[in-house]
Symmetry: C2
């Protein structure tokens, strides 16, 4: 079994509504030192089979087709350390 | 300015509806090797000031009060490497 961590973030310049809301909320609480909040996704994926190049290529396809929206989001895949 | 990465994940045993939906969708596409998908949050936070212990403690409080729900979620804070 292979495990991957996937980080999905909005591309630079794309508006992040959840991040902007959290940023404003923190600033209006006691945290006026906050400059910026961006909220992406942190995905843990377990797949059957070896953690080889073929599996990784399939994980990349999963990101492109379903887990991320390539029009507005970037993604980064890391093999999980055991 | 200090930058932090925050990883928010559901606690073990807590149902993750978005993860379960993605898992089923991938399995019904061509990806039947998928065993498990869990979807958490990946937050990038920029705050004014030095990246010292006091700032980190405040970031921890931000997580407890707003960025995570401590009842059902765990969080992990990392200082961003430049």
């Amino acid at each position: 079994m292979a495990q991957y961590q996937i980080y999905v973030t909005y591309k630079q310049g794309i508006f992040d509504p959840a991040g902007a809301t959290a940023e404003r909320a923190l600033q209006q609480m006691e945290f006026d030192e906050v400059n910026s909040v961006r909220i992406g996704k942190y995905i843990t994926l377990e797949v059957a089979g070896a953690a080889d190049a073929a599996t990784r290529a399939r994980v990349e396809t999963m990101c492109e087709k379903l887990l991320a929206n390539p029009v507005i989001e970037d993604f980064r895949i890391e093999e999980a350390q055991e």
